[in-house]
Subunit: 156 residues, 2 copies
């Protein structure tokens, strides 16, 4: 069982890198975590739809057939942390497949990604910067596993 986090942009923000690495290490006590950071060849002058298309192609090329895909998208469904934990448990018990969580770029992803997503998840009604989404996500994956393990980290 493995959780892959697939995101646009080769590097973590230096300001957040240590925190992202810390929560990745903590989550790794429960499940194998892999960051797949992909670069798309975009330029600042491209229209948004074009950027979205190129970034979606770059992401799609990293998703293997049969993987369970969770797409982070502000138009998705919000869940609370215990519900997220149950959802992950359900995906993990269904198969030994990889669960891939996709974080699109600043303009989101196109339908080539959204149509293959098993779950489209919104973290909040708020819009967060891409790099902060990485940190929030990895902390929630860690939290979910502490909830499943009945540990004290999570307070209701």
């Amino acid at each position: 069982m493995k959780i892959t986090i697939l995101a646009i942009g080769k590097k973590h923000d230096p300001l957040l890198m240590r925190a992202i690495e810390e929560y990745s290490a903590r989550a790794s006590h429960y499940v194998k975590i892999e960051w797949k950071l992909v670069e798309a060849k975009i330029t600042g002058t491209m229209p948004e739809a074009h950027i979205r298309k190129i970034e979606s192609e770059a992401l799609l090329s990293q998703i293997n057939p049969g993987e369970i895909v969770i797409l982070l998208d502000e138009h998705g469904t919000e869940v609370d942390s215990p519900t997220l934990a149950q959802k992950l448990q359900s995906y993990m018990s269904q198969s030994t497949k990889t669960v891939t969580v996709v974080i699109g770029g600043a303009y989101g992803v196109d339908e080539t990604i959204s149509k293959i997503a098993d779950f489209t998840w919104s973290l909040s009604k708020l819009v967060f910067p891409h790099q902060l989404v990485r940190l929030i996500l990895i902390e929630q994956l860690y939290r979910a596993h502490t909830i499943l393990a009945g540990e004290k980290y999570h307070h209701q």
Copy 2:
């Protein structure tokens, strides 16, 4: 006009400190930002309700009469980033008073704080660690001001 962020716990998490300082500096271009970090004398053996009471007293002692109080609480109301921006603008135009945003401790706050709150705000259905809430909050305060100033930072 000033925004005070009032939180339990004297220090920022070293892992997040630079990011919190960066967004505080960015937000300060638009509005005076003051962090008021208070310590409450609690011990690990205290019951949750007792911790909540002591922490609430410590917070309350830092709130001045007439301040507009926004309480961060997971049972509050979620808003999107543009709505938050409008809300802040409305509070700021009502008066020259300080807007104080309160982040309670791990067990939340009691009714002495909740009853004086002008707005009880939930960032998300998810539970975040206290220190990450500080970062998410200051980024949203910065974002709100870029939205009000019509700047490019915020994407819909």
